[in-house]
Symmetry: D2
């Protein structure tokens, strides 16, 4: 049986969450997220952010979160600006377009949108014969593991303000971004600088679940209608409340992100030690070594990982993903095997 | 703390399902429903139906199931025929319309569509200035607890065949329908007579989850794209596989439905014994007594239940829902209290 | 060749409009409704209304007008309230649903929505599990020829205000409503009492064209984007400006409505004289006699008209429509033939 | 008054069409394109193509034509492949996305999609987490005036066949493509190689109107429902029939295209004679000279034309468009002025 570094949702839930679910299993609660566990989780999240004035909703998955926030934010003629690599642009089967909105894709730099690119997208849409860009979508951490700095986020926010744009931050892997070495962006910054952002649970210890935090009125208004209409209202909504309540108790959420990052940094150092270049400068739980095909093939005997991009020159970009559940032993074994393979080169 | 008969999703999961989730929690599997647990659950469902040639997919919730099946089945100009009381017509926040399709609502009889009403809907849509009715939506059991007989389903199927219509059966409460006294409709009948149907887990012992069973090509083709596009693809899809695998092991699914029905029949008999009329002739887990307001108010002290419809004449229709989790003790207590209240009348 | 009373768009344009199109044919103008003819027509319409603060746009057809106004007015979870007989409910192939919005159909009285029915629609939609009714759609004159009085419109407006609803008035046959005997609703009233209304040209002397008049901000904002996105932006937009400029010069618009009504009243009187009952109390250009089948069949030899509803009792409701183009001779001939047929009964 | 080369829809209709409209104005016909004039026009178009087995429908505008054909062709998860410059990608305010479909934009070469780019688009969409490319959209002539050769079209068709794709050709400026020097693609080729194509009238002598020619079943089925649902069904549909009947009588359609091209070639030669480079190698009615800013500014005194792209180096790409209505005198005057300006350089 090969150990899988394919993604960060290969296992179930962190034991603390599972225990909480078992402990509360036979209690009766009202449905649809209106129960006490959801209320408690909302309070803990607001408290972690340091603001009482935000709406917090819980959804099952990331595509749901992105689609529902965007559907709530935009009028029909308005469009999303995203990096070419943005999850909403490539990996959601046109979910945004299925709600009627175009995604205006810009090239991005290291998986990140820049203010200059946002401005270019706005400037090239001049009149009513084209869509009207209205919402900027970014991910923290990004789809290739990079992280926006506070300065970068502030510059994006300024650009949005100058152009009357909304800013939405997809935090499917937010725990790893928050815990990344060198990160200077807090939950409070995210709430201040975005109009809405999500806090991913699925990839950080939950069975499933994304919290969305809403600051701006147009998105908040009647948001529960949008959840229900898009199939995102969980009957036993307390399952989300119970889990997020655990994640935001005693710093578990960032702790799990920190563990994933530590495992990733072990890997990163090992690749560096062997002289293997990386595709991106990722301080988070996704690492993209550019492996000689011989090494890649040999590693596949005992490990699963994703093929990112075959290159013509005898190398292949692959993706290793660590998570809250990755045992250090598995990482050490991989590193050992890598070293043997490289030595035998 | 009042005991709640408000609905059949007030608790978590049946212990067997929760144990299975805990037992498999740290195993690594691939995501998105392509794991071995989902495969096993699919096989068990096919086996329970007695056919190997059906597609089975797992979704988180009922609105998702309905929306995705219907979006996959229809071209943009085509419409759904449903009873006025149908879940897709009133209780899904326009989810069907949000995919672009009109719901043509017909009055229904006892919550059930009749072939004559389906024919009337077809006949009144004569040309391209109106939508084209194409899919008939029914629920088994219905939103008011009634159950289609085999003969009624066969008559609907014939009507659909004569008019080139698809038939989709929403089985959110299918377990109770299958276990209802007098029911003569099997899973095999459902598969034979419908183009697609769902098997509800949320209301029958699962944390969440609906299986959809697809027979007809146009709905099956590329169905996974539809799941993803509509936000229904669960990253840790094995959670659905593990749960449905338990439900379809050793007859648990129908057993849970049977328990819920037994509790409901105890209630029904008690209401009858006190001379309280019922709104519908329901052999399943939803019961609709028409209570004198005095009784209603008194019962609300210790019990939660849904107000269905206030009537002008001093009575109120209320809904009591039982489930796999309803303890017989709770029902006996309620019955005792009802008897005391009525005796003291 | 049978003379057709089938509808009010059997001919081309009123000669004055056609001449204006010919006269301006080779002038060069900018496209998309930004030309001087459109500006002039907008001014004339504003002047006829007596307000300078309204937006006026020109569209090709009525379904376009209804769809675009409604798409601009609503957020995705919001719904339209309309009479069962409303054009948007039955005769636009689900165009409203294709933009994602449910139409909540109420029975209506004489083809008209009442405040009580609007209130009932609002009251039965209680929470986020259902759509949120937000816009009331009515037609003036209605689909069965009746006309709202000023008092009725004011009562609807009050009901809308109490419930935070928008009011949109489809004026596809507005000329006939304005010119109807007993009508007390002016263009100025329509602008004051509605959030948006349309002024139909197609059925009143134009080759095609509907003006939409917008008062309320949420509908006005970026409206040209909506026109373009829904395929309603005519390249040679001046064709609409030229035509509406003629219609609103020298009172032509109401004059054409008055002619159509006069022809309809001749018919109505003739039916009454022969003791033939009418389905509706219509003072406008649609008349619905309930004809004995013998008479109906005999009239079909020389005249075209629409079969509205076959009744079991040997009678058929049919629709006769007059227009700006109906010659009095044709009406006189029909009346003569009717008289002979009834006399020979 | 400046003469406008801004576009090919600055004037009304070719006199022959206007006369036909006037001549038939007071005839009564049935509505919605079911009249004899539409039938006759359909026959003439089928005859010009040389096939009797095609469906022909008439729509008012190009965005309508594109949207309706694509909405009819695709299931919700399917996407359009288009050149970055494609009209559906940039100039229709997201009309395609508003029907739920993503446009996958590829760079194009000279405004044309290549089979290699189509293949790349298909190959990069590998599974149900991404949209499924299903329809290739191209324009003939393209948005920058270029024309696909027969060989290029055949190669695209082969690529489509290999990948199960539909091919739709937007012929908004088809007359100019057909009449272009060196063109080897006939109407018959278009019908054979595409699944659907349009024949533009708006930019070739009609007041408005696009014919769409449908060959493939999935697009043809119930197409009139799609026309109505998307607001494209003209009440007085005969206006389209009358105009297309004229355009396809005696070769008028291609003759008008040929005139526009001749005027464009005069311009093109004049620019060449003055040593002014062109952005594209266009044999049709759109010409894109790269003008020194001094010349551009001087020409703007007496002529209107579109600014295409300001370049940093003291030049500006502009667009001159000729049409059936462009008088040779206007072109000669422009050429004279250009020559004087260049001589005085």
């Amino acid at each position: 049986m090969r150990y899988s570094f394919r993604n960060d949702y290969s296992e179930g839930a962190h034991p603390r969450l599972l225990e909480a679910l078992a402990r509360t299993n036979l209690e009766q609660t009202v449905g649809y997220g209106l129960d006490g566990y959801c209320d408690a989780a909302r309070e803990k999240i607001r408290s972690a952010i340091g603001r009482a004035d935000l709406d917090v909703h819980f959804l099952v998955g990331g595509t749901q979160a992105n689609t529902i926030v965007i559907a709530a934010a935009l009028r029909p003629h308005q469009a999303v600006i995203a990096a070419q690599t943005g999850h909403v642009n490539v990996h959601e089967t046109g979910a945004i377009e299925a709600t009627g909105h175009k995604v205006v894709a810009m090239p991005g730099e290291n998986g990140k949108l820049t203010p200059a690119q946002v401005q270019a997208a706005v400037d090239s849409h001049t009149d009513e014969h084209m869509v009207q860009p209205k919402l900027v979508y970014i991910s923290q951490s990004t789809e290739i593991g990079t992280v926006y700095s506070l300065k970068e986020l502030e510059a994006l926010r300024s650009c949005c303000d100058r152009n009357g744009l909304l800013l939405y931050i997809d935090g499917a892997r937010l725990a790893c971004a928050l815990a990344a070495q060198g990160n200077d962006v807090t939950l409070s910054d995210l709430a201040r600088l975005s109009d809405a952002f999500s806090i991913g649970g699925t990839k950080c210890g939950a069975l499933f679940g994304e919290a969305v935090v809403l600051r701006t009125h147009i998105i908040r208004a009647d948001f529960r209608y949008f959840i229900k209409q898009r199939g995102g209202m969980l009957a036993k909504g307390r399952l989300l409340g119970v889990q997020f309540s655990e994640l935001f108790e005693g710093g578990l959420y960032e702790e799990l992100g920190a563990h994933a990052n530590r495992m990733a940094m072990l890997l990163r150092s090992a690749f560096a030690a062997e002289g293997i270049p990386m595709l991106t400068d990722s301080p988070t739980n996704q690492q993209f070594p550019i492996l000689p095909n011989r090494i890649k093939t040999a590693l596949e005997q005992n490990y699963e990982f994703e093929i990112w991009e075959a290159r013509g020159n005898g190398t292949t970009v692959v993706r290793f993903v660590t998570s809250w559940a990755t045992p250090e032993d598995a990482v050490r074994c991989l590193i050992g095997e890598l070293h043997r393979l490289c030595a035998g080169n």
